[in-house]
């Protein structure tokens, strides 16, 4: 029995344009707030745009619609990517991004389900969001609902034992209403070093992540997380898979889209200077104010 695969929405080229604009919002917001993360949000933004515009069955004007698909950003430190996506999708005004990390803001440093419309589960302490997502999927099955739950994890996040505790339980119950997507951007915050202390290694190399998820009984797909066509096709396959849980290893680049941030662990959570911001926006073809050049 095949489930619905994608929802109607913008074509791939339009999604690419949305993602490019989202990147500009992200960099501008972090610079304006003088805080927050960049590397992880930039690696995961193409995925989030694809999910929220073409995959998730959601109603932005009714964020708590009980039958909606759920999406849990378990790598919660990439919140700005999620907020940007939600704003562009119409959950709240794009101008509200300017309140990110300010006092009394609905846009907290890490996703807070009590504060922001569209957040299905609080996260920020790595690993926990995935566990909560599993609970949503188990609850959906127990309640006889047929929505799908997506969980987006970091590769560093997969260090956490709780990820594997949840993975085991999902397989034990042969859940096919949950999809775990790992943003495999090959860096964590600090991690292990290579030949020099400045050279930080990927938390997992080669097929290690694929092997681990497979060993836990998950069906595993891989995709290029910056190729939106590939993302749509692979996530649809994952969603349609029956009989057990699916993990998608999404190959990405930390800091993607801004040359000097790419593959550089120091941009995990750095605030750009005015010059860096200008260069970043120029590379994205955007202006400081938010218009298009």
């Amino acid at each position: 029995m095949s489930k619905q695969t994608t929802v109607a929405g913008p074509e791939v080229t339009e999604l690419e344009d949305l993602a490019r604009r989202a990147r500009a919002h992200i960099v501008r917001t972090i610079a304006g707030a003088h805080g927050g993360h960049l590397g992880g949000p930039l690696s995961v933004i193409d995925l989030l745009i694809a999910l929220y515009f073409r995959v998730l069955n959601i109603r932005p004007d009714e964020p708590d619609w009980p039958d909606r698909d759920r999406c849990v950003l378990s790598k919660g430190h990439s919140s700005i990517a999620l907020y940007t996506t939600l704003a562009m999708r119409g959950y709240f005004p794009i101008e509200e991004l300017g309140t990110f990390d300010a006092i009394d803001s609905r846009l907290q440093g890490h996703p807070d389900m009590t504060a922001t419309p569209g957040i299905d589960m609080s996260s920020g302490s790595l690993g926990l969001g995935f566990s909560g997502a599993l609970g949503i999927a188990m609850g959906a099955r127990a309640a006889g609902k047929d929505f799908t739950t997506y969980a987006v994890l970091g590769d560093g996040e997969c260090n956490e034992g709780i990820v594997w505790e949840a993975a085991h339980a999902a397989q034990r119950y042969a859940l096919d209403n949950i999809v775990a997507i790992v943003d495999h951007n090959k860096l964590q915050q600090f991690g292990w070093h290579g030949d020099t202390l400045d050279h930080r290694l990927s938390p997992y190399t080669g097929s290690q992540l694929v092997d681990r998820w497979s060993a836990f009984g998950w069906k595993v797909f891989e995709m290029d997380g910056h190729d939106i066509g590939d993302v749509l096709a692979t996530v649809a396959r994952a969603r349609d898979h029956v009989g057990g849980p699916v993990a998608v290893i999404s190959h990405t680049i930390k800091g993607k889209g801004i040359s000097f941030m790419e593959n550089n662990y120091q941009w995990h959570a750095r605030v750009p200077t005015a010059e860096e911001l200008a260069q970043a926006l120029a590379e994205l073809g955007a202006t400081p104010a938010g218009g298009r050049s």
Partner: protein, 342 residues
């Protein structure tokens, strides 16, 4: 008058442990993928072979530290306070506190000022949790001068220690003549109107608040309590006796931290009114440092105002620590946790 600027305690931690490791081969540092934030990277640069990256896996991080302690090492565990205390509590309890192993747990980014991260990362109930564990020593230095000495002292001490560290630059309150002693409090200022106990970096704000209050004619007897466990009971009782009226202030909730510890001791040994000033029974939020200090009521000005109001209402309240109510209800997030105020 304000205090001079000083270093953030996280960097003092990295530097001091690296320096001590030059002559003490037992010292190792275990990181939970936060070394670039917690100051542990300074140790990695100095002693790459004695720095162990344990990844984002805090329960294991603390467990491994316990194991290394049994073969003679003095492991310093470095992560944020929230992940050490909350995520890895069972490892700490069963593998470190119960066997009384020689592990030094450093809780980085403790308190309200955690770099705009929000409630997941704001850990201001850490002292309450760690203080409740038997065998655990709990230390919260005020500034870089004290932190340097405290780190030496906890290496010399044999047993588990929780060291509270903070993120932001903190002013200097002690001069070079200061001598930190584990388990001892220290008088920062003498006064006759109210005894104020403070701990951690909040002491720097309490000190500046005391100066403001002096301008207002209120003379604060200010006592800094860097070791919250074991508590300097003699010093606490003597300071309470001095004025007969006690206020505690801390960058921590008013439940179970320094305020709780002081109230426990005084209710047993010298019952006088004790008012706890600190963070309300809440989880906090993201925001710039100054805005957070102000909204949550522990800035210099808000601390001074709270102490002033408590001194003014001293007669009215007439209570003891036990009748203090927590005022902040869940629907009033950020209500400063001042007790017994109208």
């Amino acid at each position: 008058m304000t205090l001079t600027k000083g270093k953030a305690l996280r960097f003092v931690f990295g530097e001091t442990v690296a320096e001590l490791a030059e002559t003490d081969p037992r010292i190792v540092v275990l990181d939970g993928d936060l070394g670039s934030s917690t100051g542990a990277y300074i140790f990695e640069q100095a002693h790459p072979d004695r720095f162990f990256q344990m990844g984002i896996a805090e329960q294991n991080l603390l467990g491994v530290a316990a194991g290394m302690a049994t073969v003679g090492f003095v492991p310093f565990v470095s992560t944020f306070a929230c992940f050490a205390v909350a995520r890895a509590l069972d490892s700490i309890r069963v593998l470190i506190a119960q066997p009384r192993l020689n592990v030094k747990i450093t809780g980085g980014y403790a308190g309200l000022l955690a770099g705009m991260t929000g409630k997941t990362h704001l850990m201001f109930d850490d002292v309450a949790v760690m203080r409740a564990l038997a065998n655990m020593v709990v230390v919260a230095p005020a500034d870089e001068v004290e932190a340097r000495q405290a780190i030496r002292a906890i290496v010399d001490y044999q047993g588990p220690v929780y060291l509270r560290l903070t993120r932001q630059d903190s002013p200097i309150v002690f001069d070079d003549s200061y001598r930190f002693e584990l388990g001892k409090s220290t008088i920062l200022r003498e006064g006759e109107d109210v005894t104020v106990f403070s701990t951690g970096v909040q002491t720097t704000r309490a000190y500046e608040a005391a100066l403001l209050l002096a301008d207002d004619g209120i003379e604060v007897h200010l006592v800094h309590v860097p070791t919250i466990k074991p508590l300097d009971e003699g010093g606490i009782v003597a300071a309470a006796r001095r004025t007969g009226f006690v206020v505690t202030t801390e960058d921590h909730t008013i439940i179970g931290g320094l305020g709780g510890a002081v109230a426990e001791v005084l209710s047993d040994r010298y019952p006088v009114p004790v008012k706890r000033h600190g963070l309300a029974d809440t989880f906090g939020e993201s925001g710039p440092d100054d805005a957070l200090l102000d909204k949550y009521g522990i800035s210099v000005e808000k601390t001074a105002a709270a102490i002033k109001a408590l001194v003014r209402d001293r007669g009215k309240s007439g209570g003891t620590a036990t009748r203090v109510a927590v005022e902040a209800a869940p629907d009033t997030p950020g209500r400063p946790g001042v007790t017994d105020k109208e």
